[in-house]
Symmetry: C2
Subunit: 299 residues, 2 copies
């Protein structure tokens, strides 16, 4: 089954203890797509500005992404500049330039409205809802957000939570939105806000999944090669949604496998800057690492 992802396409400038990159291809929709494409056709719904390099468009095409809803407008592409220090767990945002993102009105084709697997990556919750309302037959709707929207558009986010199947949040966001320190309590609180399932991403500590019928917890793939964690959460979500779209079945067994695939593909993401490592991944690479991952966690 196809997937549609709404999110950002960005030019990211990142500095980590391993080096720096300027204006590399990034953004939530791109990281998500780079991972989800390994499992299913991915439709990108996003906006870019006039300064967006043609080579990046060519690259996205070449990766098989469907770009009919990637619109270009007058102005500059969304830019993010950040730095990681020490344990590389927390990004310090140095600068954000919204550019054309501030005038973004997602548009999709009649064909795309019928897509069943929908991921609303981090963006203004009003824009996320706007797209969701256009979709005619959703089977699985995933939602990501970030602290900015939790703090500045809390009501819009809470309204949107009632309309999605799975809310994907990082630990910090889950704690912030719920007011609970214990992550299982936070997950239960968020579940009571409306979504059928809650998936809390804990970075180097893995993930916690909550649904009333089952709880699932998985550590991250143990790696000592963390070069740049930017986009790891979106990469995880891409693997998770991608796997479910591919098997087109949503039950505890497929959800667990989807979480494991998300975890494995995210472990590649952190090994390089931006999408350097995920851009050339194959399903075979994932399956090989999945074998090693299983050895590290199953008993």
């Amino acid at each position: 089954m196809s997937i549609i992802v709404l999110g950002t396409v960005a030019l990211d400038s990142v500095k980590t203890p391993y080096g720096k990159r300027v204006h590399m291809l990034g953004g939530s929709a791109v990281h998500f797509a780079m991972s989800a494409r390994l499992f299913a056709p991915v439709n990108l719904v996003a906006i870019i500005g006039e300064d967006f390099p043609k080579k990046y468009i060519d690259f996205l095409h070449q990766k098989g992404l469907i770009l009919t809803s990637l619109i270009k407008e007058r102005g500059n592409t969304f830019k993010w500049e950040g730095e990681y220090e020490g344990d590389l767990n927390t990004a310090l945002t140095l600068n954000t330039e919204l550019g054309v993102l501030s005038i973004f009105h997602p548009q999709i084709s009649p064909q795309q409205r019928k897509i069943k697997y929908i991921f609303l990556a981090n963006l203004d919750p009003d824009i996320q809802r706007h797209l969701l309302q256009k979709m005619s037959s959703p089977k699985l709707v995933g939602l990501d957000s970030m602290n900015y929207w939790i703090n500045h558009k809390r009501r819009a986010l809470l309204r949107l939570l009632k309309e999605v199947d799975i809310y994907v949040a990082n630990d910090q966001e889950a704690r912030s939105l719920s007011g609970e320190n214990n992550l299982l309590k936070a997950a239960k609180y968020l579940y009571n806000c409306g979504p059928k399932m809650v998936l809390i991403k804990k970075g180097e500590h893995g993930v916690l999944f909550f649904a009333p019928k089952f709880i699932f917890s998985l550590p991250a793939y143990p790696t000592d090669k963390v070069v740049d964690p930017t986009g790891a959460g979106d990469t995880f979500a891409g693997g998770f949604m991608g796997y479910l779209a591919k098997v087109n079945k949503i039950n505890p067994i497929t959800i667990k496998k989807a979480i494991a695939y998300g975890t494995v593909v995210a472990s590649f993401n952190v090994e390089g800057f931006g999408i350097e490592r995920t851009a050339n991944l194959t399903l075979k690479d994932l399956r090989n690492r999945m074998k090693r991952f299983k050895k590290c966690i199953l008993f």
Copy 2:
């Protein structure tokens, strides 16, 4: 097989968001023993003062612990006073009274010297080494420590690391001793200090095990009932060492199972103050929770 544990027997005063307790029975050796006793006979090597309540001695007897090397000296029992706030992950030490701990010279019987499973719980590394040198035929020697010794007796600790099989550290201690933020890098660094295996406890995030032949990672048992985490690490170590002593085989399969048992028994520990919850545990309770744990993590 029998186990011998060297550590503290303490009177703990603890305050958490769920209440407080004054002078309850605690200490690294007690928490370890309360867990290990479920699998194997446990010999306690520790010191208490004249103020140590008789009811606690009776209690330890009643739990089947072998107390021939629990010595009483003139002076006060070791006391620790601490408080947990917010996420209950970090203890704030309010007061420490060493008491008789400052004159502790562990003594064991000729019979006890032959015990093969040895755990050196948190204590001065010189005292830990003193006991270890008395042991005639160790099969598995586990070592725990804490930041105080890392900072104040680093050389003694590093020397001791060369003489043990497994070093059990929490994430903070592992980072502090190794100077590495990434926990896998930290584990590799610590492995290169001498022990055959390294086990890093990450509290609510589970554990990471490192040996050159295999890496194993496990999340914590998902619980939203964290009342008092004091002693969770020692309880984990008790389940880990206890299981290995019971099966008396050390290989990747038994190590993984031992880590899982340690994780499960530690999840009980945090649900009550001190040893309130582990004191009445049975192996049946552990096995039931192990079944639920497996559902939460296996795929």
